[in-house]
């Protein structure tokens, strides 16, 4: 019971945290691109755009950082047996993340926010690139740790049957990590690009600063299109790798109960299914596609859930080794279908750019703001697929989730914390979305002070308080 609650809490807080992570990784990179354009051609429009999207970035960083703290603490708070058992391996990447990446990101983000008037343009630009790079580096260590749970490597079992790290390098050459890390980074770029596109489209639809937002719309489509196509390829390769090391995950994702020898069809849509229904009604199947997805060959064999279950019982002793098939089947499909939809949307954008009609494309501009929901659903579905598919293991083949929780933490404790997190996160979510919409709808700030001998009436009209980040108002409070 308390293990289930601990799982609910970890799932809730992780999913919530990962709504913010990809936006911040993606937007940090895009904001750095914008600021680089400003640095290179001294066009004040790019400075205004940098500040506009920089503000949106900071609104999300604020929540992303603090919800990340929860994740780190939860390993010890809720999963103390797990932490004790594998801390000598799993803790390493977390400590490296803090020392190598998180210090860098946090320190230079602070300098960037407050450094507009204190640093040279070049140094200030370096700061945002360090932030963008550090956030990707941070993800690298977290993904190395996560991949180890999917496919443990670089250890031996000691005399107390505990895994002990023997080769740290193996953590970073883990095949699951090598595919999962770029998968996450590209998903982040997709998310950031769609968010940028959404706000650009909203303004273009209303003819606000068309010249400026046309640029960000083009930049975001230019990042989005290659990122989504590349990521669909990487995602399918990751599926092949996981099929090798976690065949049960893939079998469950296809709701394939009995092993299929070759030319396995892919189920596009089914009615029913789940752990208690081994014969759902297939609505649409594509021949050979499952074999191709799972093995890269049309005649490849895909193992079935029942066969794997029997095999695991022989290997690990009696028990239920089947994850939640419904979550697997639909997690995989929601992720993949949304990716396909996003890819089509990116193609539409490219076609409009080529025809030079992007700024007048009524339907595209109308849909784009709403389309921003898609990557968040896609990312969440992907994580459900990969994490729920690992069950009943917390570390594949080494430790079961049921053995991992904290013995001293009661169900009451977790009810309290889960309630607190849900309420607090809901409030934060409302504040974040409210601020995103509020700031995302504001006009670009007038190109006041910089470069081209600004226009006079920049400020008095503006309300003293609301506006953009500290940078412009801090001169009022001179350092």
């Amino acid at each position: 019971m308390s293990t289930d609650l601990a799982r609910w809490q970890f799932a809730t807080t992780s999913i919530y945290h990962f709504l913010f992570v990809p936006v911040t990784i993606g937007l940090a990179f895009l904001v750095a691109l914008l600021q680089t354009s400003w640095y290179k051609n001294d066009n004040p429009t790019f400075k205004r755009l940098t500040k506009f999207f920089g503000t949106l970035l900071l609104i999300n960083v604020a929540v992303g950082v603090v919800t990340g703290l929860v994740q780190e603490f939860e390993f010890g708070m809720n999963w103390s047996n797990y932490s004790r058992f594998v801390g000598n391996i799993f803790g390493g990447p977390l400590a490296m993340e803090g020392l190598a990446a998180f210090f860098l990101e946090s320190t230079f983000l602070g300098i960037w926010i407050f450094g507009w008037d204190r640093l040279s343009k070049k140094l200030h630009l370096t700061c945002i690139w360090l932030v963008a790079g550090a956030s990707m580096l941070s993800a690298l260590f977290i993904m190395a740790a996560n991949s180890w749970m999917q496919h443990p490597v670089g250890y031996v079992m000691n005399s107390q049957h505990q895994p002990v790290l023997t080769d740290v390098w193996a953590l970073f050459t883990n095949p699951v990590f090598l595919w999962a890390y770029p998968h996450v980074i590209l998903a982040s770029l997709v998310t950031g690009a769609i968010v940028m596109l959404a706000f650009s489209a909203w303004h273009l639809k209303r003819n606000n600063s068309v010249a400026a937002f046309r640029r960000t719309a083009i930049i975001s489509v230019a990042v989005l299109a290659p990122a989504i196509f590349l990521n669909m390829f990487i995602g399918s390769e990751l599926g092949v790798v996981e099929g090798k090391y976690q065949p049960m995950k893939i079998a469950a994702a296809e709701a394939l109960w009995t092993t299929c020898d070759s030319h396995c069809p892919f189920s596009v849509f089914q009615i029913g299914g789940g752990n208690n229904d081994q014969t759902p009604t297939q609505i649409w199947e594509v021949p050979d596609l499952l074999s191709i997805l799972a093995t890269n060959h049309p005649d490849g064999e895909v193992q079935g859930i029942n066969n794997l279950q029997a095999q695991y019982v022989k290997e690990y002793g009696p028990g239920n080794y089947i994850p939640n098939v419904f979550i697997q089947y639909w997690g995989m499909r929601v992720m993949a279908y949304l990716a396909a939809l996003i890819a089509l949307f990116a193609l539409w954008g490219l076609w409009l750019i080529r025809r030079k009609t992007l700024t007048k494309a009524k339907w595209f501009l109308l849909i784009a703001p709403w389309f921003a929901i898609a990557p968040f659903l896609m990312n969440t579905a992907g994580w459900l697929l990969t994490e729920s598919g690992r069950q009943p293991w917390i570390v594949q083949g080494l430790m079961k989730t049921s053995q991992a929780a904290s013995p001293s933490v009661t169900s009451t404790d977790i009810w309290i914390s889960l309630t607190v997190f849900v309420l607090l996160y809901a409030a934060l979510g409302v504040a974040d979305v409210y601020l995103m919409i509020h700031y995302g709808r504001q006009e670009l700030e007038p190109s006041g002070e910089d470069g081209g001998g600004g226009d006079g009436d920049s400020d008095p009209s503006r309300p003293d308080s609301s506006d953009d980040s500290d940078d412009d108002r801090v001169p009022a409070l001179i350092y």
Binding site: V66, L99, I478
Partner: protein
Amino acid sequence: MVYLNNIWFIIIAVFWVGYFVLEGFDFGVGMLHSFVGHDDVERRVVVNSIGPIWDGNEVWLIVAAAAIFAAFPSWYATMFSTFYLALLLVLVALIVRGVSFEYHRKIDNPRWRSTWKWSLTIGSALIPFLLGTALGDLLHGLPIDSSHNYTGSFWGLLVPFGLYTGLTLTVLSLFLGSAYLCLKTGGELHDRVAKLSGRLGWLAALITFGWLTWIHVGLGVGFVPNPLEALALAAVVGAALLAESHSEGWAFAAAATAIGSVVGSIFFELFPRVMVSSTNTAYNLTVSNSASPSYTLKVLSVIAIIFFPLVLLYQGWSLYTFRKRIISGPATASTPAPDPAGPPDSTDSTGAPLASVEDG
């Protein structure tokens, strides 16, 4: 390589000391800002004094926790599950406080502003209190069984010595924050803070003296204070005197030394234990029975040797970049943003006319 676990104990102690020194003044500033700032502009000046650096300072806590996880997994497992609900409160405080820095100024609405103002104030007070209580508890001892699991309830965590340690670190943070603000503000605001700092110094000295007495009388560790404890007492009394006589730079340095050596003393007294079991001393967690194997510690050492000096370097540079006083000149209230303090590219000299740096 047996000694590596001792070294990692020291490194972790250094992270905690660094965290309380750096976030200590952030906490103090956070607690003070709603009281010393009389209007929005003044509160903004106060909060902006830590605006660029608080986030980087907070990472010291994250790294302290992650280093315990990696180097002493059993310590991490026992400590974090033991303090479950207390850490929940710490997380809530860290969350509302962290978000308030960014969200506070975003909307000009009295209720919005006041919500985040109090989030920052209360969060800044709760975190040092709760973490201080936890550190005090480590030393005092808690009921821990033979498999290193806590057997008490949430109320069992509220050990008087722990609570008093929390109070000590909160008051020291408050004092350190006031000393920091003396260095970072000007005008009327500065005078208010300086007066307050003089008084807080003596309060901090009194409470610290009580804490040291408690360790030696109450916890029975002998009469002779260890060098860090002696340093803590000397530093806090010195800081109080210096704050009173307005030697602001030295007062800040002494107050930072005081809070750092108080935290250091806790680890000094703990060693070689990392968590004391009040059930049976045989169940104590120690640097030997909770450490990772030597290969892990070697890997971590390599990482620390490469990255830690870099961190010190760029965090130092960040402090240096934002070293100047923040002064809200009389003109500012009426004309906020437009008048840039200088041409955008003149880098460091911007704003120099109004800013001044004194003493050292």
